[in-house]
């Protein structure tokens, strides 16, 4: 039997989608050897969250009513104590920014191996087989871990659990040691505002590191002008200060769903794809035929952007 303890994710009063996905991942893993799926709901309005998370396949929901927002020390302590109480084979956490702020600490505290950012998980009860990517998505690997382990799951890889469950919802009386809490969250701030809202655009001409230099950006701007489109970008362009933050598409930027998204010199790392995969038509211009962006593109030109982009601009002038 392989029991699973899956930890859910919320922020500022809202459950995040990965919380429903982790139910599916946990249920699949538990099914392989007929184990129970336990959910942990830590901090915030735990009872309200627990009601929502009570979907098909969940056996028990353990709530830890402590504080409003995420604090990694609270999470680490609560999960370690739940682990000691429930003795699950696997602890699953989201591979979110917060997941990466506590899952490695949980593994270290419990002296368990950890595998992060998994996209598939299998077990025979003894060995966990985890699939994950390397080299920015160019290859996939399988990895084996013996015995109990911590795994984080990539978002949007498992479907969200549906239906209504009949899980037992129980308050877990975690013994949180306040002296061991070494960080304090003082608030949140939304960034990336400003006059341009790329989420409103019908056509996005999006530029990535393939553009090489800031001086080459006018090439992209001219194309966008010719198409009456809006310019957006991948993260490195914003990191370099070449475009403002409000142009960034992706996990830490904006989620966009234009009619047409033209990705120019963008490799298609998972954090970028998270922000644009819902676009109606995706066009990729990239010299690398194996770039991960090709997996989600509808149309592709495998060629040098410095040749293709000016030719395309000319078509519309």
């Amino acid at each position: 039997m392989t029991d699973i303890l899956a930890v859910t994710d919320h922020r500022r009063g809202e459950l995040r989608d990965v919380s429903y996905e982790i139910i599916t991942a946990g249920r699949q893993l538990a099914n392989e050897t007929g184990g129970d799926l336990h959910l942990a709901v830590i901090s915030g309005t735990v009872d309200e969250f627990a009601e929502k998370l009570n979907r098909e396949g969940v056996d028990a929901i353990h709530t830890v009513d402590y504080g409003e927002e995420f604090n990694h020390d609270v999470y680490t302590q609560a999960i370690s104590q739940l682990y000691d109480e429930l003795a699950p084979q696997y602890v699953l956490a989201p591979n979110s920014v917060n997941g990466l702020d506590y899952a490695p600490a949980v593994a270290t505290q419990l002296d368990l191996p950890i595998v992060t950012d998994t996209i598939d998980l299998e077990t025979d009860g003894e060995t966990l087989i985890a699939t994950r990517e390397m080299y920015g998505g160019k290859v996939e690997t399988t990895n084996e871990l013996e015995g109990s382990a911590v795994a984080t799951i990539r978002s949007a890889e498992w479907p969200q659990a549906e239906g209504t469950g009949d899980a037992a919802i129980e308050a877990f009386d975690a013994d949180i040691d306040e002296d061991a809490i070494g960080s304090t969250v003082n608030g949140f701030e939304e960034v990336g505002g400003g006059d341009v809202d790329i989420t409103e655009a019908d056509v996005l001409v999006s530029v990535g590191r393939g553009i090489e230099e800031e001086d080459n950006l006018p090439l992209i701007e001219e194309l966008a002008d010719a198409l009456s489109a809006t310019v957006s970008s991948s993260r490195p362009i914003v990191d370099n200060g070449w475009l403002p933050k409000n142009r960034q598409v992706g996990q830490s930027g904006k989620v966009v769903t234009p009619d047409v998204y033209i990705a120019i010199g963008i490799s298609g790392a998972v954090q970028h794809v998270a922000g644009m995969k819902g676009s109606d038509t995706i066009v990729a211009i990239n010299t690398d035929p194996n770039a991960p962006i090709m997996d989600i593109a509808d149309y592709a030109i495998v060629d040098d952007l410095f040749d293709v982009v000016p030719a395309l601009t000319e078509e519309f002038q």
Partner: protein, 262 residues
Amino acid sequence: MKILVTVKEVATVEDEFEIEGTGIADQYLGADLNEWDDYAIEEAVQLQEAGVADEVVTVTIGPEECEQTIRQALAKGADRAVRIWDDSLEDVDLLDVGAKTEILSAVVEEEDPDLVLTGVQAGDDSFGATGVSVAEHLGYQWGAVVNHLEHDFDDAASVRRELEGGVEELTEIELPAVLTIQTGINEPRYASLRGIRQAQRKELDVKALADLGVDESAVDAELELTDMYEPESESDVTTWEGSAEETAGELAELLRDKGVAQ
């Protein structure tokens, strides 16, 4: 204040490559300083220039061949470097988070810094976990995915953690602490010629596991890499062929069909 920065030489892969066993064949691999670590080095050097830090030490686990990459950190202003290598690491396919934690923690204990900066992730195997794991192992505080650090602190660091969707968390973290540094936190400098020359003379200490009191068993990764393959493409992408004018023409036609620019 003393700052330790962990740095890794990461493997880069050419566009076209072949897989041999559980790795990419050597001739398709290149090497580079991990992008995230470059930002961590810059942050440490800036703290030194601001008078907050008085020493910046880098540490890497890697073979002799990576010294050139590691010296880049010295050329950018780090004071000295420690490189860990050991015969027992020679045949390890993939150093997992647990193994890295044991080795790096031993160095942190020996150096006793107030602040440890790591990258959010290594660009090649991308565990995104080493920094937080080291912190917990040593009883340091930590913060993951930091994209802003106030430069006037003594016993606590004010940081911003970059969450998803353009939201930043404002957090106060007691020292000593490990921060995992996100790209964009600063503008990494290029090493000057003078810096590069000076770097050749800076101390680069090579240590084996025994020198750190780490048992060889620490490198027996619990995570075993069993297979590597190119992901099966689920795409039904239409790839236009021909000269740039021809492919641009095809794309232009598609765009006109979709009502773009009319």
